[in-house]
């Protein structure tokens, strides 16, 4: 009886709530990086051989997939502000809620690992034009599903506990990733995690939540941290500098930088101010412009920082190309966010789908041959293979980004009414 109640009352709504558009985009990017990394275009041309594939999977799991995925799924499982009063009113059900949310988070992680497994198998089929051998499938199940699930199940305690203690989500990411890097593949992780689990359980049960808050702009801290982390890792990766240039300046940095633009109305949403703001003529556009200006200043500072942090790669590929790729892809990615702010949910899903297709097509077009017009519209078009003739393509992508900004601006300006159903809060 209680089991059914728990499933309908806590488990399913919780999973549904986790499926926000930006998290979906995050999950999509994880899939993208993953498939790229293990493909012949990525780490040591891995997909053709089992050992290399495992090395690639192990490598991406340890440096990227597990910490990022665990953070995305678990960081606010127990600690969102709206939730606090609700949890306080349920003293006897708290531990059950704790367990149900942990299980719900883990089931999302499992679904994603399963998806990555299928992506790996499909990539193998696409690139080799043959069904993969049984050993490859078994090894993939072990390294893509079982091991990551085991690590995630333990590491999630660390993230959830930090979520209870620390106010700022980016600090949670920073500290949890630090703990992960220090303790990965180490028996201390398991011992430490069990200890942390017990502490989390105790704190949660007693609701002794004393959050450490910070006045430093969290996005800024987050991105500086990522930049330093990535720049330190770069020299350990056995990929040539042109490939690194492509991954960093065409995909990773523009996408991370575009997050600056993501939270344009987040303060108003978080504080229940949007309903009031919409009745003040022009206020949304004013806030939009104000936040965009701030985002651009941060972006310029970070670009200058990356000039120093990634000197060796930039020197080999040229400053002008770096600036062009960084700018055009930044405009494209952040333009999508800007557009999503002003769009109805349906169109948001449609745009996400189109992005997904633009990721899929380069792989398909390798099989069916280039169809040339497409490359001008594709943000993932491989400049790597055309370092000298990629300018036109990148300029086009940049212009598409500018158009997305314009459309987003118009959509917000035209927004006479807001769809409050999109801003429902967790109970």
């Amino acid at each position: 009886m209680y089991g059914n109640f728990a499933v309908f009352e806590y488990f399913l709504p919780f999973i549904k709530e986790k499926m926000k558009v930006w998290i979906l985009i995050g999950f999509f990017l994880i899939c993208f990086f993953y498939s790229y990394y293990i493909s012949p275009l990525g780490f040591q041309a891995s997909i053709y051989r089992i050992r290399e594939t495992i090395n690639a999977i192990e490598s991406i799991n340890s440096i990227f997939l597990i910490p990022v995925l665990t953070f995305l799924i678990f960081y606010d499982n127990l600690s969102s502000d709206e939730d606090k009063e609700y949890l306080k009113s349920k003293p006897f059900a708290r531990i059950k809620i704790f367990a149900i949310r942990w299980a719900a988070g883990l089931s999302i992680a499992f679904a994603i690992f399963l998806l990555l497994f299928f992506i790996t198998i499909i990539e193998k089929i696409v690139f080799e034009m043959n069904l993969p051998e049984g050993k490859f499938v078994l090894v993939s199940i072990k390294h893509i599903i079982l091991k990551p699930l085991f690590y995630t199940s333990i590491f999630s305690f660390v993230v959830m506990f930090l979520g209870i203690l620390v106010q700022n989500e980016f600090f949670i990411f920073l500290i949890s990733t630090g703990i992960w890097i220090i303790s990965k593949k180490n028996v201390f992780l398991i011992i430490g995690a069990i200890g942390i689990f017990l502490m989390a359980k105790f704190s949660f049960q007693k609701m002794q939540i004393r959050k450490v808050s910070s006045k430093i702009p969290s996005t800024f801290v987050f991105i500086v941290f990522i930049l330093i982390l990535v720049s330190r890792f770069v020299k350990f990766l056995k990929i040539d500098s042109t490939m690194l240039f492509y991954i960093l300046f065409e995909i990773v940095l523009p996408y991370i930088f575009s997050f600056i633009c993501f939270g344009i109305f987040s303060i108003e949403k978080k504080n229940n101010l949007l309903e009031r703001m919409v009745t003040i003529p022009g206020s949304l556009i004013y806030i939009f412009k104000e936040r965009l200006r701030r985002a651009m200043v941060i972006w310029v500072i970070l670009c200058i920082a990356s000039l120093f942090l990634f000197q060796p790669i930039i020197r080999m590929n040229g400053y002008h190309l770096m600036m062009l790729c960084l700018t055009s892809n930044f405009l494209f990615w952040s333009g999508i966010y800007i557009l999503l702010i002003g769009l109805e949910e349906f169109f948001g899903v449609l745009v996400s789908f189109l992005i997904f297709v633009s990721w899929l097509l380069p792989r398909v077009q390798r099989l069916i041959g280039n169809f040339s017009v497409y490359k001008y519209l594709n943000p993932f078009y491989l400049t790597y293979y055309h370092p000298l003739s990629g300018y036109l393509e990148k300029l086009t992508v940049g212009l598409i980004g500018v158009c997305l900004y314009f459309l987003g601006y118009m959509a917000i300006k035209r927004m006479d009414f807001i769809n409050l159903e999109n801003f429902k809060q967790r109970r």
Partner: protein
């Protein structure tokens, strides 16, 4: 003044949400200065918040028309209308890092006030709403009563003609409630005010008119005293033993009961005294809005 909002009329307003829930169905009401403060009353889920969200242009109705000074909302100009209304949502939020003064300045700035005009207006509102004591205290440290007062302050910052307040009295202690009711009374001299609440006594003491909603439909709409007069001579009080309560509650419209010694004092509504059989020493009493409210809710 040419742009002044003098009358807001809802004609055949309907609102349904995804999944087929009908929140409002064929609402025909109007708000104008002579109606004084207009209270919106109704049980949970009656459609009060949806109605106020539609009037404040937060939500788009699924059908019907909003007329401002006898002109369609779009013909009048949605932004022009918005400039002339003040709104306090039910779940009112603030920038928690700011102080009340900073918050009000921010809202004033969004309304286009600048420099001395903004300073003077904020100063005036702070004194009017009596938030001087905590004007420099971060909003994160303010009580819900203080935040509610800041909410009312921000809603009148632009000097609106039409004030829409969704549950302004919720969660307030009696002293704070009286303070806010006094503020509303003062404001009602020059503005049309509508507000929703569950507190029937607040509407009775504050409002000139009331609109009662149930299941998205208007049950009653009129002057408070006139509505109460419709049940004159239909409200009775009596004392009965504790053991008879459940039987009586099933047979009659019991508004409320209160333990007094060994017996229970019952308040009953009935068309006439003779319809109440078996109850002795019935005393006719003066009806209240609460009696009317319960009478209407149970009539359908």
């Amino acid at each position: 003044m040419k742009n002044k909002v003098e009358k807001v009329e809802l004609k055949g307003i309907r609102k349904s949400f995804k999944g087929g829930t009908v929140a409002l169905n064929d609402i025909n009401i109007s708000f104008y200065a002579d109606r004084g403060i207009i209270g919106i009353l109704g049980p949970n889920g009656a459609g009060k918040t949806t109605l106020l969200r539609i009037v404040s242009t937060v939500l788009q109705p699924s059908g019907g028309e909003i007329l401002i000074n006898n002109k369609n909302l779009y013909e009048f100009g949605i932004n022009k209308y918005r400039r002339r209304i003040g709104y306090l949502p039910q779940e009112f939020g603030v920038y928690r890092d700011l102080t009340p003064v900073q918050f009000l300045k921010r809202i004033g700035y969004l309304y286009g006030l600048k420099g001395n005009a903004l300073e003077n207006r904020v100063k005036f509102i702070i004194q009017m709403i009596d938030i001087t004591d905590f004007m420099h205290k971060p909003l994160s440290d303010c009580s819900s009563g203080m935040i509610q007062r800041v909410g009312i302050a921000q809603s009148i910052l632009s000097d609106p003609d039409f004030l829409i307040l969704d549950e302004p009295l919720v969660g307030l202690d009696p002293v704070e409630r009286i303070r806010i009711m006094n503020i509303l009374t003062r404001l009602s001299r020059e503005k049309i005010i509508i507000f929703s609440t569950h507190i029937v006594s607040a509407i009775e003491s504050l409002c000139h008119s009331v609109i009662i909603l149930k299941n998205g439909e208007v049950l009653a709409d009129g002057v408070v005293d006139d509505l109460i007069h419709t049940i004159d001579g239909k409200v009775f009080e009596t004392f009965v033993p504790d053991t008879e309560i459940s039987a009586i509650s099933e047979g009659y419209k019991v508004v409320k009961f209160r333990n007094e010694g060994k017996d229970v004092r019952l308040r009953i509504i009935s068309e006439n005294k003779t319809a109440i059989k078996g109850l002795k020493s019935l005393k006719k009493v003066k009806p209240t809005l609460e009696d009317f409210y319960v009478w209407k809710l149970r009539s359908i």
